[in-house]
Symmetry: D2
Subunit: 381 residues, 4 copies
C-alpha cells in the first residue's frame, strides 16, 4: 500500500563520469536534486575492479558495476529491477554507439552533449531515436535550462521582441593557462580534449560551440540556413581547432554571429547571447544568470529577475525565490527533473529540456562550419 | 561487507517544513545534495493524518511521521535505527524548546535561524548545547556558507585588509506588496511573521536582521560591544517592527552600521556587506554571490571569482568550476555537508558552518537593539 | 548693432582657486562650458605678484588681479565694466565673510560648498542673501546637477515612488593613503583639510557630508527634523573628525541613514543614494551617473538612461545624446549655465541649481550632528 | 607686453555644424574646453544670411560668416588675423575636397570622421596632407581619446597582455525607432544618413563602423590584412546598408570580429571592444568609460579606474580626479587640446590624437568590406 504513495523513483544507470570526472559529479547531483532517480548501475572504468570500487563508493551494489556498456545494457535489460534510464557522459565520439545500444533495449537516454562526434553519427543516432517509439531522449545542453533562458524563449514566442533580426552568441574560455585551469600545463590540459578520435570532428565546436549555437536556436526557434566559418588553431603545436567564428543566416532572414574559443586568455567561461528583434532586444549572460535584460524599442531597459513579477514564466523552472540566486546545478538538474516528468506522460510532445531535434541541428551546424572553413566560402547547413 | 564500503548516511528527522513551506523544501534539497543524509522521520503537522500524508509523499514510512516533536524524540531515541540528527525549521519562538528536547536524547541538531525567539531562550539553549558533550549543533545562517563569504573571512583572518575599521551591512526586503511577493495582499503576507508569540522579540531582526549581523561577525571575527538602534514599524496597522537601523561599536574599536528592513519597496532581497580595514576593503552582495570585490589600498580593484586563481580558499566550498555560477542552494547545502563531516570527527573544534556561539551573539544583538530603541540611547550588547 | 546680437556674457570674478587648486580648475572650465561667462578679475593669492602671475596666465588683465577680496569688491564695483558675478572657491570658514562683501556691492555670488564654516556663519550669510533683493546666489553642491539626479527629483515630485519612507545616502572616500591620493603621505594630505580655523566646524561633514545630506533633501524635497550622530576620528594623531554616521528622521516621517567617511580604505569617492517610497524605489550612484535605477513596486526593475525615452526630464540638463556618457564637469557646468539663465530672468523663483535654502539646511544638519555626537543623544535639527 | 604673457589661442574657423547640428555643438564646446582656441570664422549655411545669423549668435563678426568654404579659405588666408585651424564637420563625402582646400592655404585641419567618403577620396586626401609639410591634421575618432582607451593602448604597447590574438569590437545603434531617437519616424531619421552622395560608400561603416575599426587598430597598433564581410540592409525600403559583420585577419596573425549595426533595436549606442592577448585580455565599453577591465592570465580580474593607482597613464588625459566620472565631451575635447599642443611643437611625430594614417587605414577597411560583401569572399584590405 505504502509503496503506491511512495514517489516512484526511476532507476538510473550511468556510463562514464568515473573518478576524477567533473561532469560525472554534476550528473549525479542533478539526478539526486529532486529525488526522482535512484542510481543503481554504472560503467565507471574499463577495469571491472576500478568500476566496482568507484560504484560502491557512491552506493551501488557490486554486481551492478560493469566494465563496458554492452554488458550493462544486456544484463540490466534482463533484470526485473533493471534500469529505466541511462545517463551517458563519455567523450563525444562514443555518444552515438552507446546510446543506440541502450535504445535497442528500450532504455531511455539522457546524453551529455554534443549529440554525436560528427554529423554521420548524429544522423544515425537521430534515426535510432525516432525509430523506437518506446524510448525518450534528452540532451544536456544545460544552459538552456536556466529559468531566464526559458523566460527569453517565452518572450520571443510571445512576440515581445517582434521578428528576430540579429543574433549574437559567444562562448569563450581559456584552456591554455595552467595557472588558471589547473596545476598542469597547457599540454596536459589539452590532452584528450584535442584527440580527434575521442572528441570527434571539432574540439572547440563539439565542446562548447555546440552549446552556443544550441542556445541561439533554442531561444529563437530558428534554424541556420547558410554559414561561413573560420575555424582555426591556437598554435602549430596543437592538434585540433580551438577557435571558431561563424556568420549564420537563419531561416527567417535573421543574421547571426557565433564566436567560440577555448584559448581566449582572460576570457573565462563567457557564455553570452543577445537577440535583437523588430521590437526590442534580449540579453542573457551565464555569469549573471538570474537576470534577463529586456530592452523594448519603446520604453526603458528592464532587468527581469528570475521568479519576479513580469518574469512569471521563469517561476516554473525555479526552486528558490527571487532575490536568492540560482546557479549551474539548479539549471542542470532541471533537465533531470523534466525528463522524469516527461517519462510519466504518454506523449512525445515537446518538453522544455533540449532534445534530439536540436541535437541534430547542432551536429549539422558543426559539420557545415568545418566544411566552410576548409573551402573559405559560404555553405548550406 | 558491502555495508562497510557503502557511504554512511546519517538518519535525519525533520520538525517543521510541512506542505507549503518554502524553507522545508530548501532543507530537504540541501540534505540530499551530497548524499550524506537519509530523511527517515518527521513532524510535518499537528494533525497526525496530515503529517503522515506529507511524510509519505516524500518517502517516509507512515510509522515515523509524527504529530509532535516530543513523541518523535522519544520514539526515535528508542529505535535502533532511530535518527542521528534532527533538523528544526519551525518558527523562531519554538527553536529552543524543540532543540533542547532532542539534545536531551543525544540527537544532534541542525536548526533554522534565528538561534531563539529571544535572548532568554537563547541563553538556555546555549547552555543546553554546551552541557551535552555528546551532541553537536549547527545554525543555518546560510549566507555565511557562500564560498566567497568564506573567502572574505579568510582574507580578513590573513590580514589582507589590515585591522577592521568600518562595517556596513544591510539586508532589506519588501514583504508588503502582494504583487511582488505573492498573490495575497500585504495583510495576509504579514500574518504569522508579525505575531510576537510565534516570531519572538522582533519581526525584522529575528527574520533577516539576524542574518545581517551574523554575516558581519562571521566574516570579521569581531563582536559588537555597544549599539544604538532605531527599531520601528511600517505603519500603525502593523503589529510588529519592520525596520531596524543600528550603529554598532565592535570590540576592536571598529564602527558599524546595520540596516535591515522588510518594507523597503523595490528593495528586493538585498543582502550586502562591506568591510573596510586599514589596508583595504571587501564587498560581497548575495545577488552576485560568485564574486568578491577586493579593493586594496595599494593597487587596482580586484574582482575575485569563486574557484579562480587568487580565490583558492573558496574552492574548498565549491561544487562547480569557476565560470559557472553557484547559488543559494549550493551555499545552504554546504552546512549540511560540513555538519556531516563534523559529526564524523571526534572534535568540537570549529568548522566553517555557523554555530551556537554566533547564535548567542546574534540573540544578544537583537535584545540590545530592542532595549536601545526603547530607551533611545546607546546600550551595551 | 552687432553688440545686440552678440550673446551677452556675464563678467565673472574669482576668489580662490589659484595655482595647484583642483576646484579652481573645475570652476573655470565650468564657466567656459556654455560660453556664458568671461573671467575678467580675480584673487588668486595673498601675494599680489603671485595673483597677477596666475591671473595673467589664464588671460586676465594685470590690473584686475587682486591680492584680497575687499580690494577686488571695491574696485570692481566702481568700474563700468566691473564684474557681475563672483565665484568663491576658498576654504569653508571664509565663505560667509567673502560672499557678504560682494553681496553688499550688489554682485551676484556663486559659492563653493559648504554654505559656511559653521551654523552661525550660515545664518548670517542666509540673512545677507535674503536682505539684498538685487542679488542672486548659487551653491555648487554639484552632484545635484547630474541629469539623472534631476530625473530622480522629478520622479519623486510626480509621485512615482509614492510617499518617501526610507533614505540611505553615503559619501565615502579615502584620504589617508598617499599611494592612491597622491605621492604625499597621509599627514600632508590631511594638512589644511583638518584645520578647524580653515574648514570650520567639521572636516568630514563640511567637506563631503554636506554633499550627501544635500542630495537627500534636494531629491526628496524633505527636511530633517531630528537626528542622532556618531562623529568620530580616524586615529588619535588626527585633529579633526573623519567619519560620521547619522540617523535622520525627516519631516514627513521618513527614516534616513547618512554615512560619510574620508578614511574608508578602498572606499573611493563613493557617492550613492537610495530613496524608498510607498510605491517603489530609486537608486543613483555617481560612478555610473548616466543611469537611474527605478524599481516600482509593481513590475520589473528599470534602468533609466539619461536622455532616453522615459527619462525625458533629464534631457533638459543634458548636452550629449543618450548612449554617450556625461560626467562630473557636465554636471558642474550646469550650475553655471542655469545661474546665467536665472540672472536673465526677473524672478527669484526656484531654478534647479542648489541655493541658499538648501545651504542653510545643510549647515543646520552639520551643527546638529556635532551636538548630537557630543551628547550621544537624539537632537533637533 | 601683456600680450606675451596672455596665452596664445589659435584662431579657429568652422565649416559645417550649423543650426540644429549636434556634432557642431560638440566641436564648439570641445574647442572652448581648455581655452586654447577662439572661434573667429565659419560657414554655417549655403545661405549667407543664415550663416551670418548663426555665426553672430555664437559671437562671430558678421564679416567672417561665409556661405561657402572656398570663399572662407581665400579670405581668411589673406587676413593678418586669419584662421590658423579649420574644423570640418560636414557630411563624409565632402571631407576630402574641403580639407584639401584649406591645406592648400596652409591652414591646419581638424576633420570629423570618417576620413573621406570613399577610398579614392581618402587616398587623395592622404597625399594632400603628406605633401604639405606646413600643415597638421587631426581626425575626430573621438572614442580613442577616452583616458582608459589610452590606458589600454599603453598596456598593449608595454606587453601586458602579450601578443594580441583575438579582437572583438562592436558598435551598434538603433536609428529606426522614432520613439527612441526622435519624434520623427524612421523614414525621416534615415533621410540624409542613407543618401550615398552625401555619406559616401557605406552608411553604417562610414557613420559608426569606422569608429569601431579605428578603435581596434588604435589600441593594438595592428592593421587588417584580409577580411570577409557581410554588409546588408535592414529592409527593402531602405536605400543604403545598415548592418555589417566582418571577420578581419590582422598583420600579426590575430583574428578579429567587427560588428556594426544601426538597426539593432534596443542596441543603444553600444561601443565595446575586447582584446585578447597571449598573457591576458582587456575590455572597454563606452557606456562605462572610466573603467578598463584587465584580466591577466595569472591572477584576479582587475578593474582599472581612470586616474587611479595602476592606471597612471590615463592621468595624462584626465581633467577630473578618479572617483568622479568623465564623459564624451571630456574625451572629444582631448583631441582639440592635444592638437593645440601639437601645433606648438616643431614635430610631426605622432601624438595621441587620431590622424591621417589611421584615417587611410579605415577607408581601406570600409572599401574592402564593400568589395568582400559583393563577392561573398575573403579579400585583401
Amino acid at each position: 500500500m505504502l509503496q503506491k504513495i511512495k514517489p516512484k523513483k526511476f532507476k538510473l544507470g550511468i556510463v562514464g563520469g568515473g573518478p576524477g570526472s567533473w561532469i560525472g559529479h554534476v550528473h549525479r547531483i542533478s539526478s539526486r536534486y529532486d529525488d526522482k532517480y535512484e542510481i543503481v548501475a554504472g560503467v565507471f572504468s574499463r577495469s571491472v575492479d576500478k568500476s566496482r570500487k568507484f560504484g560502491q563508493s557512491i552506493g551501488l551494489d557490486k554486481s551492478r558495476c560493469y566494465s563496458n556498456y554492452k554488458e550493462m545494457s544486456e544484463k540490466e535489460a534482463k533484470r526485473k529491477d533493471g534500469i529505466n534510464v541511462v545517463a551517458i557522459m563519455t567523450p563525444p565520439s562514443s555518444h552515438q554507439i552507446i546510446a543506440e545500444n541502450f535504445i535497442k533495449k528500450n532504455i531511455h537516454v539522457i546524453s551529455d552533449k554534443p549529440f554525436a562526434g560528427n554529423l554521420e553519427q548524429g544522423k544515425k543516432l537521430y534515426k535510432a531515436i525516432k525509430n523506437n517509439k518506446k524510448i525518450k531522449y534528452a540532451l544536456t545542453h544545460n544552459y538552456s535550462s536556466y529559468p531566464m533562458v526559458r523566460e527569453a524563449k517565452n518572450l520571443v514566442e510571445k512576440g515581445k521582441i517582434g521578428k528576430v533580426e540579429y543574433i549574437n552568441v559567444e562562448y569563450i574560455q581559456d584552456w591554455t593557462d595552467g595557472n588558471k585551469i589547473s596545476k598542469t600545463n597547457s599540454k596536459k590540459v589539452f590532452k584528450w580534449k584535442v584527440d580527434k578520435k575521442i572528441v570527434g570532428v571539432s574540439a572547440v565546436l563539439n565542446e562548447i560551440g555546440s552549446h552556443a549555437y544550441h542556445l541561439a536556436i533554442y531561444i529563437t526557434g530558428l534554424k541556420g540556413e547558410k554559414l561561413i566559418a573560420d575555424v582555426s588553431k591556437y598554435s602549430k603545436d596543437v592538434k585540433m581547432d580551438n577557435n571558431a567564428q561563424v556568420f549564420v543566416n537563419f531561416n527567417n532572414g535573421a543574421k547571426g554571429i557565433v564566436w567560440t574559443c577555448v584559448t581566449a586568455k582572460g576570457g573565462v567561461y563567457g557564455l553570452r547571447i543577445r537577440v535583437y528583434g523588430s521590437k526590442g532586444s534580449l540579453e542573457w549572460v551565464q555569469n549573471d544568470p538570474n537576470y534577463l535584460k529586456f530592452n523594448p524599442s519603446k520604453g526603458a531597459v528592464k532587468f527581469l529577475e528570475r521568479g519576479y513579477t513580469k518574469a512569471n514564466f521563469s517561476k516554473k523552472f525555479s526552486r528558490v525565490k527571487f532575490g536568492h540566486p540560482e546557479g549551474y546545478l539548479d539549471a542542470f538538474a532541471n533537465i533531470y527533473k523534466e525528463f522524469a516528468e516527461y517519462l510519466k506522460t504518454n506523449t512525445k510532445k515537446r518538453f522544455y529540456f533540449p532534445n534530439e531535434e536540436e541535437g541534430l541541428e547542432t551536429a549539422k551546424f558543426i559539420d557545415a562550419c568545418k566544411k566552410s572553413s576548409l573551402k573559405k566560402q559560404w555553405v548550406k547547413i
